[in-house]
């Protein structure tokens, strides 16, 4: 019964994916891509991955959608008419189609030929998580067993933020209002919803050790709050100067590195947390990670968002 649902869901996802590449204009592509992200979140729930569903909805559909929409608005002035028409008139391009069909068959063979029942690392992880006192196994895997991956991931995020900063070619949009949207409704909405979002972010970090949640989802909510503030035209507060921004971006990585190196002084190896302080260390790390991820997502948006022709955000 649920198999029928899965097949229908997958069919819809594939259909939307095709639509997001449609040659009929970039706005349609971006909107379809956001819808694609939301349907993927549904798919993650069906696959028993609620943490991933939260992250996909917040980051994959939300933040990515905002950044894509801003880029689409910025690029809309000149879509190259003749070049697009040349490609559309020829219909489906044959060589890329061949490449993608080959890729599909290779991947499909891989998927089908793997054994249908495999334990993977699940029993190991579940047993280990019970020892570490963190009931949410995914959080335990992320921050404890495969903490090295997460460390490098935060570094990648920070590097991308620095690179986006370096590519900035327009003055900051902080404080600029959306064109024509300087209305009381948006202001009140932001003022009421932002504290909610902060509380929800804190709740997600805290509850991430036993229920679906965690640092990334909470960081995404923080990032969304920051983007909302920026889009509503709230000028950044006076205490949020350059140094504070840089600190908040880097503190997550620095705290992570510090906690990773700390066991070296106790005679262990990298990231080998001592048993008594494990849960506190992980929680401390998660809190700083949340702050950094939120700051990174906001900076990624603000640094790449461009003012529109009328002075507001495009």
């Amino acid at each position: 019964m649920m198999l029928v649902f899965d097949i229908i869901l997958m069919g819809v996802i594939v259909w939307i994916a095709l639509g997001s590449l449609s040659p009929r204009g970039v706005y349609k592509s971006v909107v379809m891509f956001v819808v694609f992200g939301l349907f993927m979140a549904l798919g993650w729930v069906r696959l028993g991955a609620p943490d991933v569903a939260l992250a996909e909805a917040a980051i994959g559909a939300g933040v990515t959608g905002v950044i894509l929409l801003d880029a689409a608005g910025h690029l809309r002035q000149r879509t190259p008419g003749p070049i697009l028409e040349r490609h559309v008139r020829r219909g489906v391009a044959p060589l890329p189609l061949l490449a993608s069909v080959i890729v599909f068959f290779v991947l499909a063979l891989l998927v089908v030929n793997l054994p249908a029942e495999a334990d993977g690392l699940a029993p190991l992880m579940t047993a280990g998580a019970e020892d570490s006192g963190i009931k949410n196994v995914v959080t335990a895997v992320l921050l404890d067993f495969r903490g090295y991956d997460t460390l490098l991931e935060i570094a990648v995020l920070m590097l991308a933020t620095v690179a986006v900063f370096s590519l900035r070619d327009a003055p900051d949009i902080l404080g600029r209002r959306l064109a024509g949207f300087a209305g009381p409704l948006l202001d009140s909405f932001t003022r009421i919803v932002t504290p909610f979002m902060l509380v929800i972010a804190g709740h997600l970090v805290w509850i991430g050790s036993s229920e679906p949640g965690g640092a990334f989802q909470a960081g995404a909510v923080l990032g969304a709050a920051g983007i909302l503030l920026a889009l509503s035209g709230f000028a950044s507060p006076r205490w949020a100067g350059r140094r504070v921004v840089r600190l908040s971006l880097t503190m997550g990585l620095l705290v992570f590195i510090a906690i990773a190196l700390y066991p070296l002084f106790l005679g262990g190896t990298l990231l080998q947390y001592p048993d008594e302080t494990r849960k506190t260390l992980i929680l401390a790390m998660e809190t700083w990670l949340t702050l950094s991820i939120g700051a990174s997502l906001v900076s990624l948006f603000i640094a790449s968002a461009s003012p529109g022709p009328d002075g507001g955000v495009a």
Partner: protein, 104 residues
């Protein structure tokens, strides 16, 4: 057909759609979207395969995909920053440097 096969094959399909989009669509924004599609396809395959376990699904692919989603947003932001800079410098939204064909 097993529950996980639907998502595994669907992931393969979405990845190949992304490959096609990356190669065939000239507009740079479509290429960025196609890169995202490829990422999502891989995630579907990973977590789909992780669902072959009896009982609760394998948490390791889920952690990897969580990492992947964050890296993908970083990739998208940087890619779009590059696209916008390219547009500011050249005024083009594609990589084609042939002059546009005239209707002959």
């Amino acid at each position: 057909m097993n529950h996980y096969l639907v998502y595994g094959l669907g992931g393969a399909l979405i990845f190949s759609i992304g490959v096609y989009g990356m190669l065939a669509r000239p507009h740079l924004l479509h290429k960025v979207v196609a890169a995202n599609l490829m990422g999502s396809g891989v995630f579907l395959i990973l977590i789909g395969l992780g669902n072959r376990v009896q009982g609760r699904p394998d948490p390791v692919p889920q952690a990897m995909v969580l990492t992947g989603i964050v890296v993908t947003v970083a990739l998208t932001a940087l890619g779009l920053a590059i696209v916008k800079r390219y547009y500011t410098v050249t005024g083009l939204t594609t990589l084609d440097d042939d002059p546009p064909e005239t209707d002959a």
